[in-house]
C-alpha cells in the first residue's frame, strides 16, 4: 500500500478534495487545449493573407515596371521631337543668317544634303518675263547620270510631277510612274510660286524619306525662296548703291 492510499484511508475528506482538484485540473487542461486550437486556426487563415500581400506587391511592381517603360518611351519620343524642332530651328536660323545669295544657296544645299540626306537635287527659280526656270543649283550630277531635264542651264518643263508643283504650289512626293523625282518642293514668296527644289536621289545609306523630313521640306518651301530673294534683292541694291557712290565720287573728283 502506498503512502497516498494509507493517507486516503485515514482521511476520506482529503480523497474527495484531491479528486475535485484533479477534475479542475483536467477541465483547465481542456480549456487550454481549446484555446490552443482556436489560436492555431487564425494562423492557418494568415497564410492566405500573406499570399494576398505578395500578389499585391507583385502587381504593384509590375505596374511600376510598366510605368518606367512608358516613361522611357515618352523620353525617347520627346528627345526625338526636340531633335526635329532643333533641325527646323537651325535650318531656319541659317537660311536667314546671311544676305549673300551664294551663302543662302550654300545653306539650301547643306540642308538638303546634311539634314535630308539628298545626294542629287536641283534648285529651280522662275525667270522674270519667261516661262522657264533657271537651274540655280545642281548637286550630285556626274557626267553620265544627268537626266535630260536637268542637263541644261534652264528647265522648260517635262517632268510631270515637277510641272504640277510649279503650277499649283503643292508639295509632291515620288517617285511616280511619270517622274523619277523623290520630292518636288514648291518655293513660295508670299502667294507666288517662284521655283522648286527637286530631290532626285538620296544618299545610299538613307533609303527613304522619314516622317520628320516632311517638316524640313515644308520649311524649305516657306523659307528658302524668301531668304534667297531677300539676299538677291539686297545684293542688287548694294550693287546699285556702290555704283551710285562711285559716280558721286567721280563727279566730285571732276
Amino acid at each position: 500500500m502506498s503512502d497516498f492510499e494509507a493517507l486516503a484511508g485515514r482521511r476520506p475528506d482529503l480523497q474527495v478534495d484531491l479528486v475535485e482538484q484533479l477534475r479542475t485540473t483536467v477541465e483547465r487542461a481542456n480549456d487550454l487545449l481549446a484555446a490552443l486550437e482556436s489560436s492555431f486556426q487564425p494562423s492557418e487563415t494568415a497564410i492566405p493573407s500573406a499570399g494576398t500581400r505578395i500578389r499585391e506587391l507583385e502587381h504593384r511592381l509590375a505596374t511600376a515596371e510598366s510605368d518606367v517603360k512608358e516613361l522611357a518611351s515618352r523620353l525617347v519620343e520627346s528627345e526625338h521631337q526636340s531633335g526635329r524642332l532643333m533641325s527646323l530651328y537651325v535650318a531656319t536660323y541659317q537660311l536667314h543668317a546671311s544676305l549673300s545669295p551664294a551663302e543662302v544657296q550654300e545653306t539650301i544645299a547643306e540642308i538638303a544634303i546634311d539634314l535630308l540626306g539628298a545626294q542629287r537635287f536641283v534648285l529651280l527659280l522662275r525667270r522674270e518675263d519667261a516661262d522657264d526656270c533657271e537651274i540655280a543649283l545642281r548637286q550630285g550630277f556626274s557626267g553620265e547620270d544627268g537626266s535630260s531635264h536637268w542637263a541644261a542651264e534652264r528647265y522648260a518643263g517635262g517632268d510631270p510631277m515637277v510641272d504640277a508643283t510649279l503650277s499649283d504650289g503643292l508639295l509632291r512626293l515620288g517617285p511616280t510612274e511619270q517622274s523619277a523625282a523623290l520630292a518636288a518642293v514648291p518655293l513660295r514668296v508670299q502667294n507666288d510660286i517662284v521655283g522648286a527644289i527637286v530631290l532626285l536621289r538620296l544618299l545610299d545609306h538613307k533609303p527613304i524619306l522619314r516622317p520628320e523630313d516632311r517638316d524640313l521640306l515644308d520649311l524649305l518651301s516657306a523659307h528658302a525662296a524668301s531668304a534667297l530673294f531677300a539676299a538677291r534683292l539686297f545684293a542688287a541694291k548694294d550693287r546699285k548703291l556702290r555704283t551710285l557712290e562711285s559716280l558721286v565720287k567721280l563727279a566730285r573728283g571732276a
Binding site: 541659317q94 540642308i111 524619306l209
Partner: protein, 146 residues
C-alpha cells in the same frame, strides 16, 4: 512616308549616367556653317571649339590641351578628315582624344575606312540628336571601364 527603326539601346545608359557623361571639351571639325550651328544647339551642355578643316583642327588641338572628344567630318577643303586623323595619331599616340567621324559617306566600306584610320565611332549624316548623345555616352562608358 515610310519609317525606319532606330537603335535606342543607349538611352537607359545615358539616363543612368546623367551628368557624368561629360567630355571636358569637344572639337567640332566641319566646314558646314549649318552643321556647326547644329552642334552648337545640340551639344549646348558641352564646351565646344570649332574648326573648318583638318589643318585648322590641328592648330586648335595644339591650342586646347583639354580637348577629349572630336566630331570630325570627312570631306573638307585643305585637309580632309582622314588626313587630319592620320596627322593627329602620329603626333599624340598615347593621349589622343576620342574621335567620332560624322559624314555623309555612310557605306560600310566608308565606316570601315574611318575606323581603320583610328576613329572610335562612325555616324552617318543625316543623324538624330540622340545618335550623337548615345555615342558620347558609349565612349564615356568605355573610357570609365578602362
Amino acid at each position: 512616308m515610310a519609317t525606319e527603326s532606330v537603335d535606342r539601346s543607349w538611352i537607359g545608359y545615358r539616363i543612368a549616367r546623367g551628368r557624368a557623361v561629360q567630355p571636358h571639351k569637344v572639337l567640332v571639325v566641319d566646314d558646314s556653317k549649318l552643321m556647326r550651328k547644329m552642334y552648337e544647339v545640340m551639344l549646348r551642355q558641352y564646351p565646344l571649339v570649332y574648326a573648318a578643316d583638318g589643318r585648322e583642327a590641328l592648330g586648335k588641338l595644339a591650342e586646347h590641351a583639354d580637348i577629349d572628344l572630336i566630331l570630325l567630318d570627312i570631306n573638307m577643303p585643305n585637309m580632309s578628315g582622314l588626313e587630319f586623323l592620320a596627322a593627329m595619331r602620329d603626333g599624340r599616340e598615347s593621349s589622343a582624344p576620342r574621335v567620332v567621324i560624322i559624314s555623309t559617306e555612310g557605306r560600310e566600306e566608308d565606316t570601315a575606312r574611318g575606323l581603320e584610320a583610328g576613329a572610335d565611332a562612325y555616324i552617318s549624316k543625316p543623324f538624330r540628336t540622340e545618335d550623337i548623345l548615345d555615342v558620347i555616352a558609349r565612349l564615356e562608358g568605355v573610357g570609365s571601364a578602362e
